[in-house]
Structures are given as structure tokens and as C-alpha cells.
Symmetry: C2
Subunit: 230 residues, 2 copies
């Protein structure tokens, strides 16, 4: 069964809401409450959750810690993820120091940059290493994700380097669309084998800024409008 | 006509692709090319664009600079946006120094924080001001958007302060779901009038990280799956 990408995004939102409810010591919730907080409709909430099983009791709603734990399990957040950051300028440093929820087991295991002025600096108990040591590093460390925080014009090459070094997941913070299919390899313009297994997610400051511009310009449009809910 | 929120997100992606094509001096494109690069299908591209008019010629595709300019106009990016950043720790500093496209007229007009150690520091030609001067600042400056880069536990109060000071658009970088509807006002637990006109967009590092975890855990699922394209 294919699950819409938007469903995964909404699960992340529901989880965040459940975490806040837990902080507020709220024990129970329901699809209407979740829907209002997530700014979708209750049918959407039930439909999204139904992809993964039955979490509530009809008419009784959901137990906050139980649903939270189930969503964490569905999203893969109960397991450990080893992360490297590539690009340790201001953005990379902000990421390294960003408060990752204490519930999650995301762990930074390596920091990389090409800038000699940054190499050797320490953040979060790790020393920034030169980018060309990545291949060697991967031989001795398990790395599940790479966070890409390089300037946009360097993102494609850096993503390629990550893929070739065997990193399967890339969280791209650069405001550019990575092109796994169009990349040039040493063999010519073929698709790089390594890219087939790489999953890319984008975090784009500018995208949010542009969406905000649209909604400010068009106040009759609502940014909580779900897609084609027929 | 109500336009799905996901369409706006895709327009932002199409625009980013068109900008890259322009950099690569590609003059023409079509819905199939855009679809492949955006990892959606061509029907989706045409449907998304059709909300805003007819941009191409049947069988001829689109002229890259023309479609780019049209999407910029649709998204409101041809006009000037005056932005303040609230929260000037590492994240706020990274945002202030993030390369905003030279095509856009986003302009930082003020930087705010509550931390005395940060107040008075200069970034991008601006001096960080105390948060409690925001109201006064708004009397003499036009502010279109506030970028919220405070810790999650302070985000709700800071967003409230922005709304009360008259900021209509908030780009929230804190990993928390802002609750315009549930906020307590000076009059009790009523809905704050100011919130009715506030548009919130979220940029969440952790959301992307969680989505990535899901797709790494479920490699049979594709993160380019559009929603319910029936």
C-alpha cells in the first residue's frame, strides 16, 4: 500500500501535538481535537492513522502516551539514528546545537566541512573533519543520515559525495533541488548506482518564506487547506 | 476557488527548478521535465499551474524565464517584504546570514531578542534590540513578516507578542505547533482578536528528520508520492 507523502507529514504534526499534550499532562484526545490543533479535518486524522492500524477506541478517542508511542514507532523514532552534518558554517552549527527532542535517539557522530578555518573546531563534543576524510570515516562508523548544510551551489556535489560514501538518507538544508537522476558520474552522464538507494528530504527556509508571501498576498486562501479530499 | 496547500508548496518547488534551469541557461521546459525534476507527475504540474492561468503553449511547453517570472508574481515574490527576526541565538544568526535569492526583495528590518548578552550585537547591518521594544518599533516601521527563532517553550508567547504588535505573517522555526485558537489573552481565555489575521508557516528541522526516518525505515514507500490524485 502506498501512503501519501502528505500523510507522513501530518503524522509528524500529530506526534508533535501529542508531545505537547503530554507536556500539558493531558491524558486523552480524539480525532476532532487533533484535527483542530493540526488544522485539518477529523476525517483526515482518522484516515491518516488508519494506514497504520487501529489506535483508538470508537467513541473513546486516543490515550495520549499510547498514540504518541505508536506514532514514534511508525515513524521509526524509537530506534537509534546516527547522523553526520556536512557543512559546519553558521547553519551547520545552528543545526548541531538545535534541541533535538530528548525522546529521540538521533545522535551526531561526525561533522564535516571543506573550510580549513572550520576544520578542527569542536561542537557537541565532536571535531569538524575535512570532507575528504568522509570515505575513510564511513569504513569505521555507521552513518544513517547526512544533514547537508552547505551553500546551494555546493549541495549537488556534496550530496553525490554522501551517496558515494554510502549514506542512505540526506536531509538537505540547501535551497536547491538535488537531482539524483541527472547527476554526472565518472563514467559519463549515467545515473549513479549509489543514488538509487538514497532518500532525500528537503528543509528549506526559503520555501516557507515563499509560501508565507503567497498567503499574505491572498488572505482569502487558507494555508491549512488539505489536498483534494474527495 | 480554494487552492490546496500542497499546490503552493509545489509551486515553490517548480520555481526553484526554474531558477536552476535559468542558471544552466536552459531556455525552455515542459510539464514532463518539471514533473521529473520535482518528482511528481506531469498531470500534477499542469493541474497546479492551471489554478493560476495558462502559462504554456500546448505541445510547446514553457519559456523558462517567463514561467519563472509568472510564478514569482503568483507567489508574491516580485514585491518587497520587510522582515524581523525574533530570537537571535545561533538559529536566528544562521537565518540572518542565510543566502536569500538576489531575485527576491525580502529585507531584514529588525532583529530582536530577550537575552542581554545578544542585545546590541550587529548582524547584516542591524543591531539586536530588546524584545520589549517591538511595540515601539512597529509604530515607526512597516513589518510584513516575523521569523520566529526562539526556543520551543518560548515560541507561543513570542508569537503572541508578534501578533499583538501587528505582525500579520509568522514563519515559525521552533519545533512546536503554535495554537492561535487556544491562547490566553488579558481578558481571560478568549481568542485574541489579533490572531484572526495572522498567517503561520512552519519550518521544522525535526519534521524533515522524522520524515526521513520513516522513509529509511520503509524503503518500499517513496517520499515523492502525491496525495490522492484521483
Amino acid at each position: 500500500m502506498t501512503i501519501p507523502s502528505a500523510t507522513i507529514s501530518r503524522l509528524v504534526t500529530y506526534l508533535r501535538i501529542l508531545e505537547q499534550l503530554e507536556t500539558e499532562e493531558v491524558a486523552r484526545t480524539n480525532s476532532h481535537d487533533l484535527a483542530e490543533r493540526a488544522q485539518v479535518n477529523a476525517f483526515q486524522v482518522r484516515k491518516d492513522l488508519a494506514y497504520f492500524g487501529r489506535f483508538g477506541t470508537r467513541g473513546m478517542g486516543y490515550t495520549v502516551p499510547v498514540l504518541k508511542r505508536e506514532l514514534m514507532r511508525v515513524l521509526g523514532l524509537t530506534q537509534r539514528w546516527r547522523v553526520i552534518i556536512v557543512g559546519m558554517g553558521r547553519l551547520g552549527q545552528a543545526i548541531a546545537n538545535y534541541p533535538v527532542g530528548s525522546d529521540y535517539q538521533f545522535e551526531y557522530v561526525g561533522l564535516f566541512d571543506v573550510n580549513p578555518a572550520l576544520i578542527g573546531q569542536r561542537h557537541q563534543g565532536l571535531t569538524i573533519q575535512p570532507m575528504d576524510e568522509l570515505h575513510e570515516f564511513m569504513k569505521t562508523h555507521q552513518v544513517d543520515m547526512g544533514f547537508l548544510a552547505v551553500p546551494p551551489e555546493k549541495a549537488q556535489a556534496a550530496a553525490q559525495a554522501l551517496a558515494e560514501a554510502g549514506v542512505r538518507g540526506i536531509l538537505n538544508f540547501a535551497p536547491t533541488v538535488l537531482q539524483p537522476r541527472l547527476i554526472a558520474t565518472e563514467n559519463g552522464d549515467e545515473i549513479s548506482e549509489e543514488w538509487h538507494n538514497v532518500t532525500i528530504e528537503n528543509v528549506d527556509f526559503l520555501a516557507g518564506m515563499k509560501r508565507l508571501a503567497f498567503y499574505l498576498l491572498n488572505p482569502n486562501q487558507k494555508n491549512d487547506q488539505p489536498e483534494d479530499n474527495t
